[in-house]
């Protein structure tokens, strides 16, 4: 009799699970009640993994459409300037060398933009599908920062921007040198891009019990509170900076890298302080 009742309930539970409507009937200390709760937990996690698959598929779709959208603009511009270039060149003696120079420069610029885009996308997809893995090991933060600074030094020099950093070789954290370098370069690159001519970028390290925080502060317009949560989205660019050169993938890549090392990244919005500030928290 008792057995039949239990079997009947188990059958009901299975039916409800198939319909996707299962909810526990009681909460008490009996084994059946505990089983019901575990059954619900299992269903929840399998729904979650299905949902994740679906999200993943959707992400891939938008990723592909993003790529085609993002590559279209530079390609169109290259095409346009190539035609202008050909036209100008066909004017033989009357051709303006200055114009030809200008068109060629523009083609080069767009080409660099495409190169950067494809390069970032390749890295991103390798990172996301695990072909390239991030292996955090204990490393010197000083070395990380110095390598990153040297990568953006020439760009900064062109805009007469100084980068200040007080070296301290004793600070260590757990990170993957190559990838974290990539992440920090993206942040510094942004700081250089949005800083005014002759500005100053400051890098400081703050120690916590669990994290080491790398602050990157600049004299640029900063990020509004509204944009603060959105700037890490793929291909997102702040509303006020649309005209600046860039593709909006750098910070997304940066956040992905830092997250894979159990760290995180934070924006200090520009209503709290003047200028821009991003903070990378690396696990110690």
């Amino acid at each position: 009799m008792f057995e039949n009742k239990t079997i009947a309930r188990l059958e009901q539970m299975l039916d409800a699970a198939i319909d996707g409507t299962f909810v526990e009937s009681d909460y008490d200390e009996s084994r059946l009640s505990r089983l019901e709760s575990r059954w619900k937990e299992f269903l929840g996690s399998s729904v979650l993994s299905n949902q994740n698959l679906e999200t993943e598929r959707h992400r891939l779709e938008t990723f592909i459409s993003d790529i085609s959208h993002q590559t279209k603009t530079p390609m169109t511009i290259i095409k346009m300037y190539s035609e202008l270039l050909r036209e100008e060149a066909s004017r033989d003696d009357k051709a303006s060398l200055a114009k030809i120079q200008k068109f060629a420069d523009e083609i080069c610029r767009q080409n660099a933009r495409l190169e950067f885009l494809i390069d970032s996308l390749t890295k991103l997809s390798r990172l996301e599908n695990g072909t390239l893995s991030i292996v955090p090991t204990e490393g010197e933060i000083d070395k990380l920062i110095k390598t990153s600074i040297s990568s953006v030094a020439s760009k900064a020099e062109q805009k007469k921007i100084s980068i200040s950093y007080e070296a301290d070789s004793s600070l260590k954290a757990s990170f993957d040198m190559k990838w974290t370098n990539e992440a920090l370069i993206n942040v510094l690159d942004n700081a250089v891009k949005y800083s005014p001519e002759g500005g100053n970028i400051r890098i400081t390290v703050e120690q916590f019990e669990v994290y080491q925080a790398i602050h990157v502060t600049d004299d640029g317009p900063g990020i509004s509170e509204e944009d603060a949560t959105r700037i890490f989205g793929r291909f997102y660019r702040g509303s006020s900076v649309q005209q600046e050169e860039g593709v909006g993938i750098g910070l997304y890549l940066t956040r992905e890298i830092i997250a894979k090392e159990d760290g995180y990244i934070k924006v200090v919005p520009n209503d709290k302080r003047k200028g821009g500030e991003l903070v990378l928290y690396l696990k110690r």
Binding site: S33, V47, E209, A228
Partner: protein, 221 residues
């Protein structure tokens, strides 16, 4: 798919001239895996709301649905068992049991439920929170920040449907707070854990994916 849903919640205290509407028609919904903060000043109704969401108190009217179950219908013991199985709490005051070790504190809710602890998961959580070396000591030997990390581990260990955190850094200095919030944020993502956090502080609220503002018992998205 939402894991937590509140519909038209009200909580009134007193009556007539002394009627206080602590919550006045609050509806919200939280998706699986989301980290949401509810921000409000003291007296805004945020703690009342958290108590309703966690089944620690009954609303005057309205419903709370957690993991598809309407908890308004649950009574006494049932509600108690429901909380133990479905909700991980993190309080301002840590609420660790002082007489047992850190590890035993972490597995306590699982043991109370008569389940076998998932050792791999728990070890992983302990390592991520950086408390491996404290496993066998008593909570009193730990700093405030470390105790709160243990409380986070305890909440994560049983893989609850949802974690409710009530001013989790209220008793910590700002530096330790940053550590604890960072861990809450990163572990939430790592273990796909839904988190609802109550705070009065804007900067703390910004650590979440989404912020809900509550003022005078009403919600502003």
């Amino acid at each position: 798919m939402s894991i937590l849903e509140a519909k038209n919640l009200t909580k009134y205290y007193g009556e007539g001239d002394t009627l206080v509407k602590a919550l006045d028609g609050v509806s919200l919904s939280v998706e699986r895996g989301e980290f949401v903060s509810i921000i409000g000043t003291s007296g805004s109704g945020k703690s009342t709301l958290l108590h309703m969401l966690g089944g620690l108190d009954n609303p005057t009217s309205g419903t709370v649905i957690i993991d598809d179950k309407d908890i308004s219908g649950l009574k006494g013991d049932e509600l108690c068992i429901f909380r133990r199985r479905k909700i991980g709490f993190i309080f301002q005051s840590f609420n660790l049991v002082p007489s047992i070790t850190v590890y035993d504190n972490i597995i306590l809710p699982i043991q109370l439920d008569g389940k076998k602890p998932d050792k791999d998961h728990i070890d992983n959580v302990i390592e991520t929170l950086g408390i491996e070396s404290k496993k066998n000591v008593l909570p009193s030997k730990l700093s405030g920040g470390q105790q709160q990390r243990v409380a986070i581990a305890r909440a994560l260990a049983s893989k609850p449907a949802i974690i409710l955190a009530d001013e989790p850094t209220g008793n910590l200095d700002s530096k330790t707070s940053q550590d604890v919030l960072g861990l809450l944020k990163t572990t939430g993502k790592k273990y796909n854990q839904t988190i609802v956090m109550i705070t009065h502080n804007d900067e703390i609220a910004q650590m979440a994916d989404r912020t809900i503002r509550i003022e005078d018992g009403h919600i502003f998205a």
